[in-house]
Subunit: 158 residues, 2 copies
DNA sequence: ATTGCTGAGTCTGTCAATCGGACCTAGCCT
DNA sequence: AGGCTAGGTCCGATTGACAGACTCAGCAAT
C-alpha cells in the first residue's frame, strides 16, 4: 500500500524549517539554559561545555532568527554587558522543550531520575505535554491521529 | 540576581541526551516521514533531498538507538527488502513532532498556511499540544511554570 | 599610570560531518 | 546475457565542531 504522503511535496514543510533552527546540536541546550534563567555567555559556557566559538555562533543565529534578543545590563561596578532573553517566538518553544524533556526522562534518564522537572507555579505539580484536538478531546496514542495535507500543501512535481 | 540553576550540574540532563539523538539536522525530518507512512529508503531520499550517505547514517543511528527498527518485507516479484518502522520509543516522539510542527506553523509557514496538519481520527479536528500539570490544571503560559531540580539532580562540583 | 581581572569574545589548526556525484550489488524480469 | 531497481559505498570538496591560545574594554587595586 503506497502511502498517500508520497503525492505531496515537503519543500515548504514547517518541520523542516523549524529543524533548520532547532536541529543543530546545541540549540535546545542553549534554550534550556535561558528558560532556566541562565542568560549570560560565560555561565552558559561553563555549565554546558559548549565550545566558545560554537556558543557565539549559536547565540548569534538565535538572535538573527528572532528566538532570542540581546539586552544590555549593568552590574554595579562593571561596565555594560549583554544578556540573552527569549522573545515571544522563543517563549513559544516552551512546549517543544517540555516534550523533549518528557521523552528524555522516559528513555534516557539515569536510574535515580531526571535532574530537571517543571512544576506548575500555582500548585507545584509536575507539568507534562498532552495532545488535544480542537474540540477538546484527549488524544492518547499516536494511532488516534492522522496526518493530512494542510492548506499550504502542494502536489509533487517530478 | 543569580539564577538558582547555576548551582546544579547539567551533566546528566535528559534534554542534552535527547538532543544527541534529535539534534542532528535530519533526524526529525526522517521521523516526520516515518510518521507519515513513508518507510523506505528511496522514498525518503527523493522526498526530502537528504544525501544518501547522511540518510544511511541517520537511519542506522536511529535503529541503533532504538527509535526505529528494520523490518523485512517483500513486494510480489521483488526480492526481500527492508523498511523502517517506529518502535515504542519512536512512537513516543509524537508529541515532540507535534510541538515542533505547531511552532513552525506559527512562525515559519508560508502565507497560505502549513502543508501538513494532524487530525484526530475520531472527529477530524486539528490536534495540538497542550501543557497540563498532574493535577489536571491547564498551563497556558511559560511564566506559569517553574523549573526545578528533579530527583536525579546533582550539585555542581567545580 | 601601570598592572591585573573579568566577561565576552576572535584566531588558528585539527578532526569529524555534510553534501553531491559517481559507482556498486543482489535479485528479479525480459 | 543484459537491464532495472532499491539500497547502498566510495570519493573529494566544503562546512561545522572542537580545544587552546590570544584579544579587548573597562573597572579596580597598587
Amino acid at each position: 500500500m503506497r502511502p498517500a504522503a508520497l503525492d505531496w511535496s515537503v519543500e515548504n514543510c514547517t518541520i523542516g524549517r523549524a529543524m533548520e533552527i532547532l536541529g543543530e546540536r546545541w540549540t535546545l541546550v542553549v534554550l534550556r539554559e535561558v528558560f532556566n534563567g541562565v542568560r549570560r555567555f560565560d555561565d552558559m559556557r561553563v555549565r554546558t561545555g559548549i565550545p566558545r566559538q560554537v556558543l557565539t555562533n549559536r547565540l548569534a543565529m538565535l538572535v538573527e532568527r528572532g528566538v532570542l534578543r540581546r539586552e544590555p545590563y549593568r552590574e554595579p561596578g562593571s561596565r555594560v554587558r549583554h544578556e540573552y532573553r527569549l522573545t515571544e517566538m522563543g517563549l513559544d518553544l516552551w512546549p517543544v522543550l517540555v516534550a523533549v524533556l518528557g521523552w528524555g526522562d522516559r528513555y534516557l534518564a539515569d536510574p535515580e531520575g531526571s535532574p530537571l522537572t517543571v512544576a506548575h507555579r500555582d500548585c507545584g505539580a509536575e507539568v507534562r505535554v498532552a495532545l488535544r484536538c480542537e474540540r477538546g478531546h484527549e488524544v492518547a496514542r499516536p494511532r488516534d491521529v492522522v496526518p493530512q495535507p494542510g492548506p499550504g500543501a502542494r502536489r509533487r512535481t517530478g
